[in-house]
Protein backbone atom coordinates (compact mmCIF):
# COMPACT_ATOMS: atom_id res chain seq x y z
CA UNK A 1 0.00 0.00 0.00
CA UNK A 2 2.11 2.86 -1.34
CA UNK A 3 1.02 6.41 -0.67
CA UNK A 4 2.74 9.58 -1.82
CA UNK A 5 5.91 10.79 -0.09
CA UNK A 6 4.23 14.16 0.50
CA UNK A 7 1.57 12.51 2.65
CA UNK A 8 4.15 10.26 4.40
CA UNK A 9 6.29 13.34 5.16
CA UNK A 10 3.29 15.28 6.49
CA UNK A 11 2.42 12.32 8.71
CA UNK A 12 5.90 12.32 10.27
CA UNK A 13 5.83 16.12 10.78
CA UNK A 14 2.56 15.68 12.68
CA UNK A 15 3.94 12.76 14.68
CA UNK A 16 7.05 14.78 15.61
CA UNK A 17 4.90 17.71 16.74
CA UNK A 18 2.68 15.41 18.80
CA UNK A 19 5.73 13.86 20.51
CA UNK A 20 7.02 17.32 21.49
CA UNK A 21 3.54 18.38 22.64
CA UNK A 22 3.31 15.22 24.75
CA UNK A 23 6.40 16.23 26.76
CA UNK A 24 5.19 19.71 27.75
CA UNK A 25 4.21 18.74 31.28
CA UNK A 26 7.27 16.60 32.02
CA UNK A 27 9.25 17.48 35.19
CA UNK A 28 12.68 19.14 35.04
CA UNK A 29 15.88 18.26 36.91
CA UNK A 30 17.45 20.26 39.77
CA UNK A 31 19.04 23.47 38.50
CA UNK A 32 16.41 23.83 35.79
CA UNK A 33 18.03 21.32 33.44
CA UNK A 34 15.78 19.28 31.16
CA UNK A 35 15.22 15.70 32.29
CA UNK A 36 12.76 13.14 30.91
CA UNK A 37 11.64 15.53 28.15
CA UNK A 38 15.06 16.16 26.57
CA UNK A 39 15.51 13.00 24.47
CA UNK A 40 11.89 12.77 23.20
CA UNK A 41 11.97 16.46 22.23
CA UNK A 42 15.16 15.99 20.22
CA UNK A 43 13.59 12.93 18.55
CA UNK A 44 10.31 14.76 17.87
CA UNK A 45 12.19 17.71 16.36
CA UNK A 46 14.31 15.47 14.14
CA UNK A 47 11.25 13.46 13.10
CA UNK A 48 9.45 16.64 12.03
CA UNK A 49 12.59 17.85 10.20
CA UNK A 50 13.18 14.55 8.35
CA UNK A 51 9.43 14.25 7.64
CA UNK A 52 9.45 17.77 6.22
CA UNK A 53 12.40 16.91 3.97
CA UNK A 54 10.73 13.71 2.71
CA UNK A 55 7.52 15.69 2.09
CA UNK A 56 9.45 18.41 0.24
CA UNK A 57 11.21 15.75 -1.83
CA UNK A 58 7.79 14.31 -2.70
CA UNK A 59 6.51 17.74 -3.76
CA UNK A 60 9.64 18.46 -5.81
CA UNK A 61 9.43 15.11 -7.61
CA UNK A 62 5.65 15.60 -7.97
CA UNK A 63 5.39 12.17 -6.35
CA UNK A 64 1.79 11.15 -6.52
CA UNK A 65 2.59 7.47 -7.07
CA UNK A 66 -0.02 5.53 -5.22
CA UNK A 67 -0.74 1.92 -5.94
CA UNK A 68 -3.88 2.07 -3.85
CA UNK A 69 -7.14 2.57 -5.67
CA UNK A 70 -9.14 3.57 -2.62
CA UNK A 71 -12.54 3.12 -4.26
CA UNK A 72 -11.65 -0.38 -5.48
CA UNK A 73 -10.14 -1.64 -2.21
CA UNK A 74 -13.07 -3.98 -1.65
CA UNK A 75 -12.07 -5.79 -4.86
CA UNK A 76 -8.34 -5.96 -4.02
CA UNK A 77 -7.60 -9.60 -3.09
CA UNK A 78 -4.31 -8.85 -1.30
CA UNK A 79 -6.01 -6.16 0.80
CA UNK A 80 -8.98 -8.36 1.71
CA UNK A 81 -6.65 -11.26 2.59
CA UNK A 82 -4.59 -8.94 4.78
CA UNK A 83 -7.77 -7.70 6.48
CA UNK A 84 -8.71 -11.31 7.24
CA UNK A 85 -5.36 -11.67 9.04
CA UNK A 86 -5.67 -8.39 10.97
CA UNK A 87 -9.30 -8.82 11.97
CA UNK A 88 -8.66 -12.50 12.67
CA UNK A 89 -5.86 -11.74 15.15
CA UNK A 90 -7.95 -8.97 16.78
CA UNK A 91 -10.87 -11.39 17.23
CA UNK A 92 -8.43 -14.01 18.55
CA UNK A 93 -7.23 -11.55 21.24
CA UNK A 94 -10.82 -10.76 22.24
CA UNK A 95 -12.06 -14.36 22.42
CA UNK A 96 -9.12 -16.53 23.39
CA UNK A 97 -9.33 -16.12 27.17
CA UNK A 98 -13.02 -17.00 27.29
CA UNK A 99 -13.20 -19.65 24.58
CA UNK A 100 -9.68 -21.09 24.79
CA UNK A 101 -6.61 -21.37 22.56
CA UNK A 102 -7.43 -24.71 20.96
CA UNK A 103 -10.81 -23.60 19.61
CA UNK A 104 -10.01 -20.00 18.67
CA UNK A 105 -6.55 -20.87 17.31
CA UNK A 106 -7.92 -23.64 15.09
CA UNK A 107 -10.76 -21.40 13.93
CA UNK A 108 -8.35 -18.57 13.04
CA UNK A 109 -6.12 -20.92 11.06
CA UNK A 110 -9.09 -22.46 9.27
CA UNK A 111 -10.63 -19.12 8.30
CA UNK A 112 -7.38 -17.71 6.89
CA UNK A 113 -6.54 -20.91 4.99
CA UNK A 114 -10.08 -21.07 3.63
CA UNK A 115 -9.76 -17.46 2.50
CA UNK A 116 -6.45 -18.38 0.79
CA UNK A 117 -8.33 -21.05 -1.18
CA UNK A 118 -7.08 -24.15 0.64
CA UNK A 119 -9.77 -26.87 0.08
CA UNK A 120 -12.22 -26.85 3.03
CA UNK A 121 -11.54 -30.34 4.35
CA UNK A 122 -7.77 -29.94 4.04
CA UNK A 123 -7.95 -26.54 5.77
CA UNK A 124 -10.00 -28.02 8.63
CA UNK A 125 -7.64 -30.96 9.16
CA UNK A 126 -4.48 -28.83 8.96
CA UNK A 127 -5.99 -26.22 11.32
CA UNK A 128 -6.89 -28.79 13.98
CA UNK A 129 -3.66 -30.80 13.73
CA UNK A 130 -1.38 -27.76 13.62
CA UNK A 131 -3.12 -26.04 16.55
CA UNK A 132 -2.75 -29.27 18.49
CA UNK A 133 0.99 -29.41 17.73
CA UNK A 134 1.49 -25.75 18.74
CA UNK A 135 -0.46 -26.36 21.94
CA UNK A 136 1.61 -29.43 22.78
CA UNK A 137 4.87 -27.58 22.06
CA UNK A 138 4.09 -24.41 23.99
CA UNK A 139 1.64 -25.49 26.71
CA UNK A 140 2.92 -28.97 27.51
CA UNK A 141 6.66 -28.78 26.80
CA UNK A 142 7.44 -25.10 27.43
CA UNK A 143 4.73 -24.65 30.09
CA UNK A 144 3.27 -21.50 28.55
CA UNK A 145 -0.18 -20.99 30.14
CA UNK A 146 -2.22 -20.90 26.94
CA UNK A 147 -5.85 -20.30 27.98
CA UNK A 148 -8.04 -23.40 27.95
CA UNK A 149 -11.36 -21.49 28.04
CA UNK A 150 -14.37 -23.75 27.80
CA UNK A 151 -12.26 -26.89 27.36
CA UNK A 152 -11.40 -28.67 30.60
CA UNK A 153 -7.77 -29.78 30.36
Amino acid sequence: MKISDTVVGAGFVTAGALIIAGTMNYPILDGGHPGPSLFPRILGGLMALFGGLVGAQGLRNRDTTEDVEWLLLHKNTAFINAMFVLVGVAVYILLVERVGFLLVGALLLFVIMWRLKVPTLKAAVVAVVFTGIVHFLFAKIMRVPLPMGILWW
Partner: protein, 498 residues
Protein backbone atom coordinates in the same frame (compact mmCIF):
# COMPACT_ATOMS: atom_id res chain seq x y z
CA UNK B 1 43.42 -22.76 26.43
CA UNK B 2 41.44 -23.61 29.57
CA UNK B 3 38.58 -21.53 28.25
CA UNK B 4 38.58 -23.36 24.91
CA UNK B 5 38.54 -26.71 26.72
CA UNK B 6 35.73 -25.45 28.96
CA UNK B 7 33.80 -24.28 25.88
CA UNK B 8 34.27 -27.67 24.19
CA UNK B 9 32.94 -29.42 27.29
CA UNK B 10 29.92 -27.08 27.24
CA UNK B 11 29.28 -27.85 23.57
CA UNK B 12 29.75 -31.61 23.88
CA UNK B 13 26.24 -32.53 24.89
CA UNK B 14 23.63 -34.39 22.91
CA UNK B 15 21.05 -31.71 23.71
CA UNK B 16 23.22 -29.04 22.14
CA UNK B 17 23.94 -31.19 19.10
CA UNK B 18 20.19 -31.76 18.73
CA UNK B 19 19.63 -27.98 19.00
CA UNK B 20 22.25 -27.41 16.29
CA UNK B 21 20.64 -30.01 14.01
CA UNK B 22 17.09 -28.70 14.46
CA UNK B 23 18.20 -25.08 14.01
CA UNK B 24 20.20 -26.01 10.91
CA UNK B 25 17.12 -27.55 9.31
CA UNK B 26 15.00 -24.59 10.43
CA UNK B 27 17.49 -22.06 9.04
CA UNK B 28 17.84 -23.90 5.73
CA UNK B 29 14.07 -24.09 5.31
CA UNK B 30 13.42 -20.43 6.18
CA UNK B 31 16.29 -19.28 3.97
CA UNK B 32 15.16 -21.38 1.03
CA UNK B 33 11.54 -20.20 1.08
CA UNK B 34 11.25 -16.80 -0.60
CA UNK B 35 9.53 -14.22 1.58
CA UNK B 36 10.85 -15.59 4.86
CA UNK B 37 13.97 -13.78 6.10
CA UNK B 38 16.73 -14.78 8.52
CA UNK B 39 15.73 -11.90 10.83
CA UNK B 40 12.15 -13.13 10.92
CA UNK B 41 13.42 -16.63 11.70
CA UNK B 42 15.54 -15.24 14.55
CA UNK B 43 12.58 -13.28 15.95
CA UNK B 44 10.40 -16.40 15.88
CA UNK B 45 13.17 -18.39 17.55
CA UNK B 46 13.30 -16.07 20.56
CA UNK B 47 10.20 -17.43 22.35
CA UNK B 48 11.88 -20.86 22.25
CA UNK B 49 15.22 -19.50 23.47
CA UNK B 50 13.30 -18.02 26.42
CA UNK B 51 13.03 -21.56 27.75
CA UNK B 52 16.64 -22.54 26.99
CA UNK B 53 19.91 -22.00 28.86
CA UNK B 54 22.02 -19.10 27.55
CA UNK B 55 24.44 -21.24 25.51
CA UNK B 56 21.90 -23.30 23.52
CA UNK B 57 19.93 -20.08 22.96
CA UNK B 58 22.94 -18.33 21.39
CA UNK B 59 24.10 -21.43 19.48
CA UNK B 60 20.57 -21.79 18.08
CA UNK B 61 20.67 -18.25 16.64
CA UNK B 62 24.23 -18.65 15.29
CA UNK B 63 23.43 -21.92 13.50
CA UNK B 64 20.06 -20.83 12.21
CA UNK B 65 21.29 -17.52 10.78
CA UNK B 66 24.37 -19.03 9.09
CA UNK B 67 22.27 -21.72 7.40
CA UNK B 68 19.52 -19.26 6.40
CA UNK B 69 21.92 -16.83 4.72
CA UNK B 70 23.36 -19.66 2.60
CA UNK B 71 19.95 -21.20 1.84
CA UNK B 72 18.77 -17.86 0.44
CA UNK B 73 21.04 -18.64 -2.53
CA UNK B 74 19.01 -21.74 -3.49
CA UNK B 75 15.82 -20.06 -4.78
CA UNK B 76 17.98 -17.26 -6.23
CA UNK B 77 19.61 -19.86 -8.49
CA UNK B 78 16.54 -21.98 -9.16
CA UNK B 79 13.64 -19.50 -9.48
CA UNK B 80 15.38 -16.10 -9.62
CA UNK B 81 13.93 -14.99 -6.28
CA UNK B 82 16.43 -14.46 -3.44
CA UNK B 83 15.43 -16.49 -0.39
CA UNK B 84 16.73 -13.72 1.89
CA UNK B 85 17.77 -10.12 1.00
CA UNK B 86 21.43 -11.17 1.43
CA UNK B 87 21.33 -13.16 -1.83
CA UNK B 88 19.74 -10.36 -3.86
CA UNK B 89 23.05 -8.93 -5.15
CA UNK B 90 23.93 -12.00 -7.24
CA UNK B 91 20.49 -13.42 -8.03
CA UNK B 92 20.62 -12.46 -11.73
CA UNK B 93 24.05 -14.02 -12.21
CA UNK B 94 22.97 -17.20 -10.41
CA UNK B 95 19.81 -17.59 -12.46
CA UNK B 96 21.50 -16.82 -15.77
CA UNK B 97 24.05 -19.57 -15.06
CA UNK B 98 21.20 -21.94 -14.16
CA UNK B 99 19.59 -21.20 -17.53
CA UNK B 100 22.92 -22.13 -19.13
CA UNK B 101 22.68 -25.53 -17.42
CA UNK B 102 25.19 -24.72 -14.66
CA UNK B 103 22.84 -24.80 -11.64
CA UNK B 104 24.95 -27.48 -9.94
CA UNK B 105 28.13 -25.41 -10.19
CA UNK B 106 26.35 -22.28 -8.87
CA UNK B 107 24.92 -24.09 -5.86
CA UNK B 108 28.23 -25.85 -5.18
CA UNK B 109 30.05 -22.52 -5.23
CA UNK B 110 27.30 -21.00 -3.06
CA UNK B 111 27.59 -23.59 -0.32
CA UNK B 112 31.40 -23.75 -0.24
CA UNK B 113 31.95 -19.95 -0.38
CA UNK B 114 29.33 -19.51 2.34
CA UNK B 115 31.19 -21.96 4.57
CA UNK B 116 34.60 -20.42 3.83
CA UNK B 117 33.26 -16.87 4.33
CA UNK B 118 31.66 -17.91 7.60
CA UNK B 119 34.91 -19.48 8.83
CA UNK B 120 36.88 -16.35 7.89
CA UNK B 121 34.42 -14.21 9.83
CA UNK B 122 34.66 -16.57 12.79
CA UNK B 123 38.47 -16.30 12.87
CA UNK B 124 38.26 -12.49 12.89
CA UNK B 125 35.60 -12.63 15.62
CA UNK B 126 37.85 -14.85 17.75
CA UNK B 127 40.86 -12.55 17.38
CA UNK B 128 39.29 -9.08 17.23
CA UNK B 129 36.63 -9.41 19.92
CA UNK B 130 38.97 -10.12 22.90
CA UNK B 131 41.37 -7.35 21.78
CA UNK B 132 38.56 -4.83 21.45
CA UNK B 133 37.17 -5.96 24.80
CA UNK B 134 40.48 -4.93 26.44
CA UNK B 135 40.07 -1.46 24.92
CA UNK B 136 36.39 -1.33 25.87
CA UNK B 137 37.27 -1.80 29.55
CA UNK B 138 38.62 1.76 29.58
CA UNK B 139 35.41 3.21 28.10
CA UNK B 140 33.26 5.64 30.10
CA UNK B 141 29.76 6.95 29.39
CA UNK B 142 31.24 9.47 26.92
CA UNK B 143 32.76 6.77 24.72
CA UNK B 144 29.65 4.60 24.93
CA UNK B 145 27.51 7.56 23.91
CA UNK B 146 29.64 8.20 20.82
CA UNK B 147 29.82 4.52 19.97
CA UNK B 148 26.03 4.28 20.01
CA UNK B 149 25.80 7.55 18.03
CA UNK B 150 28.23 6.04 15.49
CA UNK B 151 26.00 2.97 15.23
CA UNK B 152 22.94 5.15 14.64
CA UNK B 153 24.79 7.21 12.03
CA UNK B 154 26.09 4.13 10.19
CA UNK B 155 22.56 2.70 10.10
CA UNK B 156 21.26 5.82 8.38
CA UNK B 157 24.15 6.90 6.18
CA UNK B 158 25.81 3.64 5.12
CA UNK B 159 23.31 0.84 5.49
CA UNK B 160 20.57 2.46 3.48
CA UNK B 161 19.85 3.68 -0.04
CA UNK B 162 17.56 6.47 1.22
CA UNK B 163 19.11 8.06 4.33
CA UNK B 164 16.07 10.28 4.99
CA UNK B 165 13.63 7.39 5.18
CA UNK B 166 16.10 5.20 7.10
CA UNK B 167 16.49 8.14 9.49
CA UNK B 168 12.73 8.30 10.00
CA UNK B 169 12.59 4.57 10.75
CA UNK B 170 15.46 4.94 13.20
CA UNK B 171 13.70 7.85 14.93
CA UNK B 172 10.56 5.73 15.29
CA UNK B 173 12.66 3.01 16.95
CA UNK B 174 14.36 5.55 19.23
CA UNK B 175 10.98 7.02 20.14
CA UNK B 176 9.60 3.58 20.99
CA UNK B 177 12.59 3.12 23.29
CA UNK B 178 11.51 6.21 25.29
CA UNK B 179 8.14 4.69 26.19
CA UNK B 180 7.97 3.67 29.86
CA UNK B 181 9.71 4.91 33.00
CA UNK B 182 12.46 7.42 32.26
CA UNK B 183 15.97 6.78 33.56
CA UNK B 184 16.60 10.11 35.32
CA UNK B 185 13.49 10.54 37.48
CA UNK B 186 11.48 7.36 36.87
CA UNK B 187 8.80 9.49 35.23
CA UNK B 188 6.32 7.58 33.00
CA UNK B 189 6.61 8.71 29.38
CA UNK B 190 4.03 8.05 26.63
CA UNK B 191 2.35 5.28 28.64
CA UNK B 192 -1.19 6.71 28.30
CA UNK B 193 -2.10 5.22 31.67
CA UNK B 194 -1.24 1.68 30.59
CA UNK B 195 0.44 -0.47 33.24
CA UNK B 196 1.92 -2.75 30.56
CA UNK B 197 3.73 0.18 28.94
CA UNK B 198 5.45 1.25 32.20
CA UNK B 199 8.22 -1.25 31.44
CA UNK B 200 8.44 0.03 27.88
CA UNK B 201 7.59 -1.45 24.50
CA UNK B 202 8.66 -5.07 24.74
CA UNK B 203 11.31 -5.75 22.15
CA UNK B 204 10.38 -9.34 21.24
CA UNK B 205 6.68 -8.94 20.28
CA UNK B 206 7.70 -5.77 18.43
CA UNK B 207 10.32 -7.73 16.47
CA UNK B 208 7.90 -10.56 15.71
CA UNK B 209 5.39 -8.01 14.44
CA UNK B 210 7.89 -6.03 12.36
CA UNK B 211 9.52 -9.02 10.69
CA UNK B 212 6.91 -11.79 10.99
CA UNK B 213 3.42 -10.31 10.71
CA UNK B 214 4.43 -7.65 8.17
CA UNK B 215 5.97 -10.38 6.00
CA UNK B 216 2.78 -12.44 6.23
CA UNK B 217 0.69 -9.42 5.22
CA UNK B 218 3.01 -8.81 2.27
CA UNK B 219 2.65 -12.42 1.16
CA UNK B 220 -1.14 -12.31 1.26
CA UNK B 221 -1.41 -11.26 -2.38
CA UNK B 222 0.86 -14.00 -3.67
CA UNK B 223 -0.02 -16.96 -1.47
CA UNK B 224 -1.21 -18.95 -4.48
CA UNK B 225 2.11 -18.64 -6.35
CA UNK B 226 3.83 -21.81 -7.46
CA UNK B 227 7.36 -21.46 -8.76
CA UNK B 228 8.60 -23.14 -11.93
CA UNK B 229 11.58 -25.00 -10.51
CA UNK B 230 14.69 -26.20 -12.34
CA UNK B 231 15.62 -29.68 -11.19
CA UNK B 232 19.11 -30.12 -9.77
CA UNK B 233 21.29 -33.20 -9.46
CA UNK B 234 22.74 -32.62 -5.98
CA UNK B 235 25.37 -35.32 -6.55
CA UNK B 236 27.14 -33.10 -9.05
CA UNK B 237 27.28 -29.86 -7.08
CA UNK B 238 30.91 -30.12 -5.99
CA UNK B 239 32.22 -30.85 -9.52
CA UNK B 240 34.39 -27.99 -10.73
CA UNK B 241 34.02 -25.99 -7.49
CA UNK B 242 37.65 -26.41 -6.37
CA UNK B 243 38.95 -25.20 -9.73
CA UNK B 244 36.63 -22.18 -9.69
CA UNK B 245 37.50 -21.21 -6.15
CA UNK B 246 41.23 -21.61 -6.79
CA UNK B 247 40.89 -19.24 -9.74
CA UNK B 248 39.17 -16.66 -7.52
CA UNK B 249 41.10 -17.24 -4.28
CA UNK B 250 42.12 -13.57 -4.02
CA UNK B 251 38.48 -12.55 -4.46
CA UNK B 252 37.48 -14.80 -1.56
CA UNK B 253 40.07 -13.33 0.79
CA UNK B 254 39.13 -9.77 -0.21
CA UNK B 255 35.39 -10.36 0.10
CA UNK B 256 35.81 -12.23 3.38
CA UNK B 257 37.61 -9.17 4.72
CA UNK B 258 34.98 -6.76 3.31
CA UNK B 259 32.14 -8.84 4.73
CA UNK B 260 33.68 -9.07 8.19
CA UNK B 261 34.47 -5.34 8.25
CA UNK B 262 30.90 -4.42 7.21
CA UNK B 263 29.71 -6.78 9.96
CA UNK B 264 31.85 -5.12 12.61
CA UNK B 265 30.46 -1.75 11.55
CA UNK B 266 27.42 -1.24 13.77
CA UNK B 267 24.16 -1.22 11.90
CA UNK B 268 25.13 -2.79 8.56
CA UNK B 269 24.23 -6.42 7.87
CA UNK B 270 24.83 -9.26 5.41
CA UNK B 271 22.77 -7.77 2.55
CA UNK B 272 24.89 -4.59 2.54
CA UNK B 273 28.06 -6.72 2.72
CA UNK B 274 26.97 -8.68 -0.35
CA UNK B 275 26.19 -5.55 -2.37
CA UNK B 276 29.50 -3.86 -1.46
CA UNK B 277 31.53 -7.03 -2.19
CA UNK B 278 29.68 -7.30 -5.54
CA UNK B 279 30.50 -3.67 -6.42
CA UNK B 280 34.19 -4.06 -5.44
CA UNK B 281 34.39 -7.34 -7.37
CA UNK B 282 33.04 -5.69 -10.53
CA UNK B 283 35.48 -2.78 -10.13
CA UNK B 284 38.52 -5.11 -10.04
CA UNK B 285 37.26 -7.81 -12.42
CA UNK B 286 38.82 -8.53 -15.80
CA UNK B 287 35.34 -9.24 -17.16
CA UNK B 288 33.01 -6.62 -15.60
CA UNK B 289 30.80 -6.72 -18.70
CA UNK B 290 29.64 -10.23 -17.75
CA UNK B 291 28.29 -9.12 -14.34
CA UNK B 292 24.53 -9.55 -14.12
CA UNK B 293 24.58 -11.78 -17.23
CA UNK B 294 25.78 -15.02 -15.68
CA UNK B 295 29.24 -14.52 -14.18
CA UNK B 296 30.47 -16.86 -11.43
CA UNK B 297 33.00 -14.33 -10.05
CA UNK B 298 30.46 -12.06 -8.27
CA UNK B 299 28.80 -15.15 -6.78
CA UNK B 300 32.14 -16.14 -5.24
CA UNK B 301 32.66 -12.60 -3.90
CA UNK B 302 29.22 -11.73 -2.57
CA UNK B 303 28.54 -15.30 -1.39
CA UNK B 304 31.71 -15.18 0.73
CA UNK B 305 31.00 -11.69 2.05
CA UNK B 306 27.45 -12.20 3.32
CA UNK B 307 28.36 -15.19 5.47
CA UNK B 308 31.61 -13.57 6.69
CA UNK B 309 29.50 -10.60 7.79
CA UNK B 310 27.43 -12.72 10.17
CA UNK B 311 30.34 -13.40 12.53
CA UNK B 312 31.58 -9.82 12.16
CA UNK B 313 28.17 -8.58 13.35
CA UNK B 314 28.79 -10.32 16.68
CA UNK B 315 31.94 -8.29 17.41
CA UNK B 316 30.25 -4.98 18.41
CA UNK B 317 27.33 -6.92 19.92
CA UNK B 318 29.50 -8.94 22.31
CA UNK B 319 32.16 -6.31 23.01
CA UNK B 320 30.06 -3.16 23.37
CA UNK B 321 26.44 -4.33 23.44
CA UNK B 322 25.94 -2.43 20.15
CA UNK B 323 24.21 -4.55 17.49
CA UNK B 324 26.01 -5.15 14.19
CA UNK B 325 22.67 -5.84 12.43
CA UNK B 326 19.06 -6.72 13.18
CA UNK B 327 19.89 -10.37 14.03
CA UNK B 328 22.48 -9.34 16.62
CA UNK B 329 19.96 -6.80 17.94
CA UNK B 330 17.84 -9.86 18.74
CA UNK B 331 20.91 -11.57 20.26
CA UNK B 332 21.40 -8.61 22.61
CA UNK B 333 17.73 -8.88 23.59
CA UNK B 334 18.23 -12.60 24.31
CA UNK B 335 21.37 -11.93 26.38
CA UNK B 336 19.50 -9.39 28.54
CA UNK B 337 16.60 -11.83 28.85
CA UNK B 338 19.08 -14.37 30.22
CA UNK B 339 20.45 -11.90 32.76
CA UNK B 340 23.70 -11.44 30.80
CA UNK B 341 24.93 -7.96 29.98
CA UNK B 342 26.83 -7.80 26.69
CA UNK B 343 30.00 -5.75 27.02
CA UNK B 344 33.66 -6.21 27.86
CA UNK B 345 32.89 -7.77 31.25
CA UNK B 346 31.23 -10.77 29.63
CA UNK B 347 34.73 -11.79 28.42
CA UNK B 348 35.94 -11.86 32.05
CA UNK B 349 32.83 -13.24 33.72
CA UNK B 350 31.66 -15.79 31.12
CA UNK B 351 34.75 -16.62 29.00
CA UNK B 352 33.58 -20.19 28.35
CA UNK B 353 30.29 -18.90 26.98
CA UNK B 354 32.07 -16.50 24.64
CA UNK B 355 34.46 -19.22 23.41
CA UNK B 356 31.54 -21.59 22.96
CA UNK B 357 29.87 -18.98 20.72
CA UNK B 358 33.11 -18.76 18.67
CA UNK B 359 33.25 -22.53 18.33
CA UNK B 360 29.59 -22.73 17.40
CA UNK B 361 30.34 -20.47 14.41
CA UNK B 362 33.05 -22.88 13.32
CA UNK B 363 30.80 -25.93 13.83
CA UNK B 364 27.88 -24.29 11.99
CA UNK B 365 30.05 -23.36 9.01
CA UNK B 366 31.64 -26.81 8.78
CA UNK B 367 28.21 -28.45 9.01
CA UNK B 368 26.98 -26.09 6.31
CA UNK B 369 28.58 -28.21 3.58
CA UNK B 370 26.80 -31.54 4.34
CA UNK B 371 23.57 -29.84 5.47
CA UNK B 372 23.70 -27.54 2.46
CA UNK B 373 24.12 -30.55 0.19
CA UNK B 374 21.01 -32.14 1.71
CA UNK B 375 19.06 -28.88 1.42
CA UNK B 376 19.95 -28.63 -2.28
CA UNK B 377 18.86 -32.26 -2.71
CA UNK B 378 15.39 -31.51 -1.33
CA UNK B 379 15.20 -27.95 -2.69
CA UNK B 380 12.42 -28.84 -5.12
CA UNK B 381 10.22 -30.07 -2.27
CA UNK B 382 10.99 -27.05 -0.06
CA UNK B 383 10.02 -24.64 -2.81
CA UNK B 384 6.77 -26.52 -3.36
CA UNK B 385 5.53 -26.04 0.24
CA UNK B 386 2.11 -24.41 -0.28
CA UNK B 387 2.34 -20.79 0.88
CA UNK B 388 -1.38 -20.60 1.61
CA UNK B 389 -0.78 -23.13 4.42
CA UNK B 390 2.68 -21.92 5.42
CA UNK B 391 1.71 -18.28 6.03
CA UNK B 392 -1.22 -19.00 8.42
CA UNK B 393 1.03 -21.50 10.25
CA UNK B 394 3.72 -18.83 10.71
CA UNK B 395 1.03 -16.42 11.93
CA UNK B 396 0.12 -18.92 14.63
CA UNK B 397 3.77 -19.09 15.76
CA UNK B 398 3.90 -15.27 15.77
CA UNK B 399 0.81 -15.06 18.01
CA UNK B 400 1.83 -17.76 20.48
CA UNK B 401 5.48 -16.64 20.48
CA UNK B 402 4.52 -13.04 21.34
CA UNK B 403 2.25 -14.26 24.12
CA UNK B 404 4.84 -16.65 25.57
CA UNK B 405 7.34 -13.95 26.59
CA UNK B 406 5.19 -12.29 29.29
CA UNK B 407 2.01 -14.42 29.06
CA UNK B 408 0.26 -11.23 28.02
CA UNK B 409 -2.34 -10.58 25.32
CA UNK B 410 -1.22 -6.97 25.34
CA UNK B 411 1.96 -8.22 23.67
CA UNK B 412 -0.08 -9.97 20.97
CA UNK B 413 -1.82 -6.64 20.28
CA UNK B 414 1.59 -4.92 20.22
CA UNK B 415 2.80 -7.52 17.71
CA UNK B 416 -0.21 -6.81 15.50
CA UNK B 417 0.32 -3.03 15.66
CA UNK B 418 4.01 -3.37 14.81
CA UNK B 419 3.11 -5.75 11.97
CA UNK B 420 0.85 -3.11 10.42
CA UNK B 421 3.58 -0.47 10.93
CA UNK B 422 6.23 -2.70 9.31
CA UNK B 423 3.94 -3.50 6.37
CA UNK B 424 3.14 0.17 5.76
CA UNK B 425 6.80 1.23 6.11
CA UNK B 426 8.19 -1.40 3.73
CA UNK B 427 5.56 -0.61 1.10
CA UNK B 428 6.55 3.05 1.22
CA UNK B 429 10.28 2.49 0.91
CA UNK B 430 10.98 2.98 4.61
CA UNK B 431 13.29 0.17 5.83
CA UNK B 432 12.22 -1.71 8.96
CA UNK B 433 15.61 -2.83 10.32
CA UNK B 434 16.55 0.68 11.63
CA UNK B 435 13.48 0.58 13.91
CA UNK B 436 14.96 -2.41 15.72
CA UNK B 437 18.40 -0.85 15.95
CA UNK B 438 16.79 2.32 17.31
CA UNK B 439 14.92 0.34 19.96
CA UNK B 440 18.15 -1.34 21.10
CA UNK B 441 20.43 1.69 20.83
CA UNK B 442 17.91 4.23 22.21
CA UNK B 443 18.39 3.43 25.91
CA UNK B 444 22.20 3.22 25.43
CA UNK B 445 22.31 6.66 23.79
CA UNK B 446 19.96 8.33 26.26
CA UNK B 447 21.38 6.76 29.40
CA UNK B 448 25.00 7.52 28.50
CA UNK B 449 24.09 11.02 27.34
CA UNK B 450 22.20 11.88 30.54
CA UNK B 451 24.85 10.30 32.80
CA UNK B 452 27.58 12.20 30.93
CA UNK B 453 25.67 15.49 31.14
CA UNK B 454 24.97 15.15 34.84
CA UNK B 455 28.51 14.11 35.80
CA UNK B 456 30.08 16.87 33.67
CA UNK B 457 27.62 19.41 35.11
CA UNK B 458 26.12 20.01 31.63
CA UNK B 459 29.49 20.87 30.09
CA UNK B 460 29.27 19.69 26.44
CA UNK B 461 33.04 20.04 25.85
CA UNK B 462 33.57 17.01 28.11
CA UNK B 463 32.08 14.86 25.34
CA UNK B 464 35.31 15.27 23.36
CA UNK B 465 37.57 15.64 26.39
CA UNK B 466 39.03 12.12 26.22
CA UNK B 467 41.10 10.97 23.21
CA UNK B 468 38.97 7.88 22.40
CA UNK B 469 35.76 9.88 22.79
CA UNK B 470 37.15 12.55 20.45
CA UNK B 471 38.13 9.91 17.83
CA UNK B 472 34.67 8.30 18.01
CA UNK B 473 33.06 11.76 17.73
CA UNK B 474 35.21 12.45 14.65
CA UNK B 475 34.19 9.12 13.08
CA UNK B 476 30.53 9.91 13.74
CA UNK B 477 30.81 13.30 12.04
CA UNK B 478 32.74 11.69 9.17
CA UNK B 479 29.90 9.20 8.70
CA UNK B 480 27.45 12.07 8.32
CA UNK B 481 29.76 13.81 5.87
CA UNK B 482 30.44 10.62 3.86
CA UNK B 483 27.91 11.32 1.06
CA UNK B 484 29.43 14.77 0.49
CA UNK B 485 33.10 13.67 0.48
CA UNK B 486 33.26 12.83 -3.29
CA UNK B 487 31.84 16.30 -4.11
CA UNK B 488 34.30 18.02 -1.78
CA UNK B 489 37.23 16.04 -3.24
CA UNK B 490 36.14 16.91 -6.78
CA UNK B 491 36.08 20.60 -5.88
CA UNK B 492 39.55 20.37 -4.35
CA UNK B 493 40.90 18.61 -7.46
CA UNK B 494 39.35 21.06 -9.88
CA UNK B 495 40.45 24.14 -7.87
CA UNK B 496 44.10 24.32 -9.13
CA UNK B 497 43.01 23.90 -12.75
CA UNK B 498 40.61 26.79 -12.45
Amino acid sequence: MDHIWGALVMLASWKLMLTITICSVYGLFVGAVPGLTATMAAALLVPFTFFMDPLPALVAIVTMSAMAIFAGDIPAALVRIPGTPSSAAYTDDSYELTKQGKAELVLGVDVVTSAIGGLMGAVVLMTAAPLLAEVALTFTSFEYFWLAALGLSATVMIASTDPLKAGLALLVGLFLSTVGLDITLGFPRFTFGSIELLNGVDFIPAMIGLFGVSEILRNMGSSHLQYPITSVKAEGIFKGVAKTLWKYKTNMVRSGAIGTFIGILPGAGADIAAWIAYAVSKRFSKEPELYGKGAIEPIVDAGTANNACLAGDWVPALVFGIPGDSITAIVIGVLFMKGLRPGPMIFEQQPELVYAVYLSFIIANILMVPFGYLAIKVSGTMLKVPRNILMPAILMFCIVGSFAINNSFFDVGLMLAMGILGYFFENNGIPVAPIVLGMVLGPIVEQNFMVSMIKSDWDLTQFVGRPTAAILAGLTILTWLAPFIPTILRKFRSAPAA
